[in-house]
Each structure stands twice: as C-alpha cells, then as structure tokens.
C-alpha cells in the first residue's frame, strides 16, 4: 500500500439521510487523500449518470502514477449492472484509487449497501437528528470544532432561533464563532438572533387557550409562513381544548395519580391545564370546540383559505374564554 492511504480506506460507504453530515464525511475522505497527495484527481459523479465500465476506467492505474478519488453521490440511483461492478470492485479495490459512495439509506439500491459492506468497506452512518438534545449536542460540537465553547442556555436559544436544519445551524455556529470572543453566552446569541424560527401548533393552542389573542395570531401567521401544516394546527387546538374539557369535567374529589389516570394525562400536563382552566366554562369550551370542528372542515377542503379558517377559530376560542 502506498504511504498515506492508511488515512483513507480504499472504499468508504456513507449511509444516511442527513445531507450535511454525509457531505462532511465525503469531504473528509477527499481531504485526507489530498493532504497526502495534493495532485490527486477527484472525480465527482452522480449515481444516475454513471455508465457501466466508467468506474473501471477511472480506477485503472494512470500512466503518471497519480492518486485519484472517485466520489459517487446518490448511489441509490446506480443502474443494476453498475452496482454489480461497484460491488466487484469493492472486493478488490485498485491500489492508487479511493472510492467514496454516498447512499441515503432506504430500500432503493439496497444491494449496493449490502454488497459493499460485505466486501469490507469502511461504513460511516449519518442519520437525521430527530431529538432536540441531539441537535443541542450538534451545536456544542460545532462550536467546539471552532475551538470555542457555548453555554447550554445559549445553545438552546440558538436552536430556537435558527430551527432544526443542520446546515443552517452549522452556518450560524460558524458565524457566531467568528463574530464573538470568549465563551458564547445567551447575550451573544440574542445580539445576532432573535425570535423563534419554528412554531408548533401546540404553542398556538396554548396561547389561544390562555386568551392571548395577539400573540396567538402572530404565532399562527408565523407557523403558516414557515410551512406548518394547517391540519396539525387544528389538531393541536382540538387537543388543547379536549384537555381543558377532560380536566375541567373530572370529579372534584380526584387528586394526583387518580386524576391522572382518570383523564389519561401525565401529572405535569394536568397542572398546566389546571392553570389554563381559569376563565373557561362549559359553554365556552363547547363553543370553542365547535369552531375547531368548523376549522377542520374548512382546512380539509370545504373552505378556500385555511389561514382564514384558522385565524377565525383562534379568535372564537379566545372570545369563548371569557364566557362562562
């Protein structure tokens, strides 16, 4: 094996649907080869366009002994016979070529993933981050890469403000590290980022039920503008009112665990609903829920403007609150 090849495996498979991380994994391999041989040639190919025999051609030794890196992105789109070629190659890789395959996971092109794994390729898994805690870790990691540190509160504020897209988060982290000095705290984040990037239906429901009409409408507009599905907002409104009705209608003598099992909600949620119950009476809840049913109908196609239907529902909910 030639010197420097130890840093990059002859065949690397990047599996996962998180684009940013996949890109990074691919470029780290390329960088490793380049570090060793700045003259290495990089062939960047897209899965659907790779012809049979192309890989063999590119990986065959060149006359001048240069190293080459072959990157195949969207490897799920590779044709069947190309997959066979790749798998065969993976078992006996060329000495002075490095192959990187990026596959988003899933069923399509599964034969490639399995075949290449079996042939002993390096596998890097990059899956989408789904939990908020994972995203916070990602932010911390990003800042650390830049040689800095961030307080937990600041990380949370940044996540709220920027949203959950990793590419945007990474860019924001890089910018913050560049713009500020010392440990990044909440004040630093607040100086550059303000507000919330993503509003869930639950936020709107809570605001409406607590009677904060202005804020509720503002958040509703924001949610619609950022692409939250109207159906989700309706079901959040219905869910909030349903909890009110359940907790409000529960027998007075139930407490704690008994109450929790009676209404089928965790105790912390019951406490919050109890605080929200002030100002709500049976008729009010009834009226508000009718409005939500109308809104759901409108959103599902009976009306022409889901935004109007939702705004109206929020207004009726707030107006029903002061009624008994």
């Amino acid at each position: 094996m030639l010197p420097g090849m130890a840093t990059a495996a002859p065949v690397t498979l990047v599996v996962g649907d998180e684009e940013l991380l996949a890109d990074r994994a691919v470029s780290s391999v390329v960088a490793a080869v380049r570090a060793d041989d700045p003259g290495a040639e990089v062939h960047d190919l897209v899965g659907g366009k790779v012809e049979p025999g192309e890989l063999t051609g590119l990986s065959s030794p060149s006359l001048f002994g240069e190293r080459s890196v072959i990157v195949i992105r969207s490897a799920q789109d590779l044709a069947k016979d190309v997959i066979a070629e790749v798998v065969k190659y993976a078992a006996h890789p060329a000495e002075d070529a490095v192959l990187v395959l990026a596959h988003p996971g899933g069923v399509k092109g599964k034969a490639l993933v399995e075949g290449v794994k079996k042939a002993g390729a390096d596998v890097v898994t990059v899956s989408k981050l789904t939990k908020p805690a994972e995203r916070l870790d990602f932010i911390k990691g990003e800042i650390k890469r830049a040689g800095r540190s961030i307080s937990p509160g600041a990380a949370q504020a940044l996540l709220d403000a920027v949203g959950s897209d990793l590419r945007e988060l990474a860019a924001a982290c890089g910018q913050l590290a560049f713009d500020t000095e010392g440990k990044i705290d909440e004040a630093a984040v607040a100086r550059y980022h303000r507000g919330r990037a993503e509003v869930s239906g639950f936020t709107i429901a809570d605001l409406a039920i607590e009677g904060r009409l202005g804020e509720a409408l503002e958040q509703l507009r924001w949610a619609l503008a950022t692409g939250v599905a109207p159906v989700l907002i309706v079901s959040a409104l219905a869910g909030g009112l349903r909890s009110l009705a359940k907790v409000g209608g529960a027998p007075r003598n139930l407490r704690g665990g008994q109450l929790a099992s009676h209404v089928g909600m965790p105790p912390w949620k019951i406490d919050r609903v109890k605080r929200q119950l002030g100002g709500w009476g049976q008729d009010g809840i009834s009226r508000a829920m009718q409005a939500v049913a109308v809104a759901d109908e409108q959103v599902k196609g009976a009306g022409t403007d889901p935004a109007y239907a939702l705004e109206r529902a929020v207004q009726i909910i707030v107006a029903s609150r002061t009624g008994r």
Binding site: V107, V234, S235, A238, R242, A245, K246, G248, G249, A250, Q282, D283, I285, S286, R287, M289, Q290, V292, A293, V294, D296, E297, K300, G301, A302
Partner: protein
C-alpha cells in the same frame, strides 16, 4: 316468480323487473323486447335491498325460465360464480377511473353462456367523478347483449349524465311489518324479537337481521343509545365521543386484521416468497415491494371506510332516537323505533322543545357530512356530542 320473492316489500319494483325479464327473453327469441333496456339504476334507502334486487334481476335475465330460483344458473348467480355476471363491490373509500376502465373492458365481452353479459356495480356512488365519466360511453352504447346494473342510494348520487342514460328502479323502505315478517318466517326469530329488530332497524332488512341474531350488535346499539342521557357535562361529551370513535376503530381492526394478513401472504406468495428454483428463494422478485405497497394503500382505505361506516351506523341509531323524541313532542301517531326506551324518550321530550330536537338531529347530520368530508373523526364526533348536550351553542 322465484328470485323476486326474496325482495322484502318491493312488489312494484318486482313487477317492473319481472316484466323486463320477460321482455329480455323476447329479445333473445328475436322479438322487439319492449320494456327491456341495457342500463338500470337501482335506488333506495340503505337496507331496502338495492343489490338484492339487482341480483334477482340478473338471475332472472340469465335463467332460461326468467328466474326460477332453483336451476344451476340461478344458483350460480346466488353465490356469485356465474361466468356472465361481473359483480363489483367497492371496498375502498372510492372507486377509481382506472378500475372503471377495466370494468368497461370486462363488460364489452360477449356472454359465455349465450344469454346476457351483466355488470352489477354495487355502491356505484363510490365511483369518483372521473370514474363515472369513464363509464359514460360504455353505458350509453353497450354491445347488444351487455346489461349494466348500477346501485346507489338515490339518483342524485350519480352524475346527471349517468342518470339520464339509465332506467331508474326505485325501491322503497320496507314497512316494519314486512321486515318483522321476513325475520320471523325466514330466520325463525321469535316474534317479539323480530318486531323489536324491525322497529330498531328502521326499514334496513340487513341491519334488522343482524340485530335479531347477534347479541353483540344489540349490546353496541344499547351503548350508543345510552349516549344522549350521559351527556351531562363537557367532560362526558368528550369521553362519549372518544368511546364511539375507539369502538369503530376496533371494529375496523377486527374486520380487516385477518383479511389483510391473508391478502398480504397471498401477494407475497405470488411474488415468489417461499418458492424454490433458479433465481428464486431469495425473497420477493422484482416489483414485489411496489405491489405490496399498493396493497397496503388499498387495505388502509378499506379500514377507513369500515371505520366510517361503523360510526355512521351509530349516528343513524342516534337520529332514530331523536326522531322518536320529536314524534312524542309533536304528538305524531307513529310507532317509536325505540319502543324499549319509551320512558326515557318521553322524559327528554317533556324537558326540551321540538326546536332543540331538530337542532340535535341537524348536529348529527352535520357530523355525518363532516366524516364524509374527511374531517378528523374525533373532532367531528366531539362537536356533535357537545351540540347534543346543548343544541343552542352557535356553530
């Protein structure tokens, strides 16, 4: 006439169909056949026996004796295995244009046994507009020996271009006496049970039979009818709605679980699972995953429909309950569907006004419309129970 005897309380329709069957025999013998036509639309309220009437007519057309009821042909129609009868029963939420085109192709063939080729389309109202349009040409000018039999609750459920191409047979709601009589004579149900079921099913023969024969169906009805009295507070309304939706979901699960499993196993087998030989024995062959996915979509659509139908049965029971309340309030001298709950009905009648009762009925009807319009079942049913508790809440 043998095959038409099974139709409950539909003497007029049976006479028309019998005449048409004779005319059809005349056509086959080379006559003019006045009174026979190539497209029929059977309409009538649920349970009036639309598909039964259509099937009887099909049997009469295919039978050399115009529906004797005991020959091979009649028997094959009865069990649905007659080669010249294509029987369509949409299982999903709707019937697509693609499926309809296949159907048109099937209907275009010549009859195998030399009499008629019949396409019986149950619940034709489930056809989407595009699907109905795909039918137009086939219904207007079918091959000489093809007959289309469509069934729908009312002529208005079909697009006007279909309606105008069909001869409409209107079935009426059979009387309580007729239904009770059928239950007592054909299913050997004791007299008082037969009357109870006939009243409770308000003219739906199939439902009356299930009520009379199945303890579980009766128990479910009791549960539904106890809803109006239980709606004392908002919390109770929510709970009642939750129960109703949950039971219907369980119904759908129970009805589909075994069916789905069999279908999926069958499809996997078709795509080569468990088979051996060169190139096989490695799971599904090409195209299997896609076919499985398509099947799953169909199964999901069927489950949703069963769930909706199950809620709808409950809603109709509730409508009948408030109809009784209204009958008492207005002093109408009609029999109550819920004779067994007469005291409760009378109490509610005395405590509320006819206007309230109408508002409540309206709320149930709105809920049915919403369910059909794909509104979240829980939200729709909650809005209904809340409106039943206090009908004067503005909507």
């Amino acid at each position: 006439m043998g095959v038409f005897e099974d139709l409950v309380g539909q003497d007029r329709a049976a006479a028309v169909l019998g005449q048409a069957a004779s005319a059809a025999a005349d056509v086959l013998a080379g006559g003019r056949g006045a009174g026979m036509t190539h497209a029929w639309l059977f309409t009538g309220p649920p349970g009036s026996g639309r598909s039964d009437a259509a099937r009887a007519f099909a049997a009469a057309l295919l039978c050399p004796d115009q529906g004797c009821g005991h020959c091979d042909s009649c028997h094959q129609v009865e069990i649905g295995s007659h080669p010249d009868l294509t029987w369509v029963r949409p299982e999903g939420l709707s019937y697509s244009a693609k499926q309809t085109r296949d159907l048109v192709l099937k209907g275009a063939g010549a009859p195998t046994l030399g009499r008629w080729r019949i396409v019986l389309f149950e619940d034709a109202d489930r056809a989407t507009e595009a699907a109905a349009n795909a039918l137009l040409k086939a219904i207007e000018e079918p091959p000489p020996r093809t007959v289309w039999l469509l069934c729908a609750p009312s002529p208005d459920d079909m697009i006007i271009t279909i309606r105008s191409r069909c001869r409409v047979v209107t079935l009426r709601t059979p009387s309580t006496e007729a239904v009770a009589h059928v239950l007592a004579t054909r299913d050997n149900v004791p007299d008082d049970m037969a009357w109870f079921a006939a009243r409770a099913a308000h003219g739906d023969v199939g439902r009356a039979r299930r009520l009379a024969l199945d303890e579980e169906v009766r128990r479910r009805r009791e549960e539904v009818l106890s809803i109006p009295a239980s709606l004392t507070g908002v919390g109770e309304c929510i709970a009642a709605a939750e129960r109703l939706v949950k039971t219907s979901a369980e119904d759908a699960d129970a009805a589909t679980a075994t069916l789905n499993e069999v279908e999926t196993a069958e499809l996997r087998r078709v795509y080569g699972e468990g088979s051996s030989g060169k190139g096989l024995g490695k799971g599904l062959v090409r195209g299997g995953a896609g076919a499985l996915k398509e099947l799953e979509t169909l199964q999901k659509s069927r489950a949703t429909r069963i769930k909706r139908d199950s809620i709808d049965v409950a809603l109709l029971d509730l409508v009948a309950y408030y109809r009784d309340v209204l009958a008492v309030q207005l002093g109408a001298g009609v029999g109550l569907a819920n004779e067994d709950r007469r005291r409760e009905v009378e109490t509610l009648a005395a405590r509320s006004t006819p206007e309230d009762t109408l508002r409540r009925t309206e709320a149930i009807m709105i809920c049915r419309e919403r369910l059909a319009a794909n509104v979240n079942p829980q939200i729709a049913v909650e809005a209904m129970t809340l409106a039943l508790r206090d009908p004067r809440v503005p909507r």
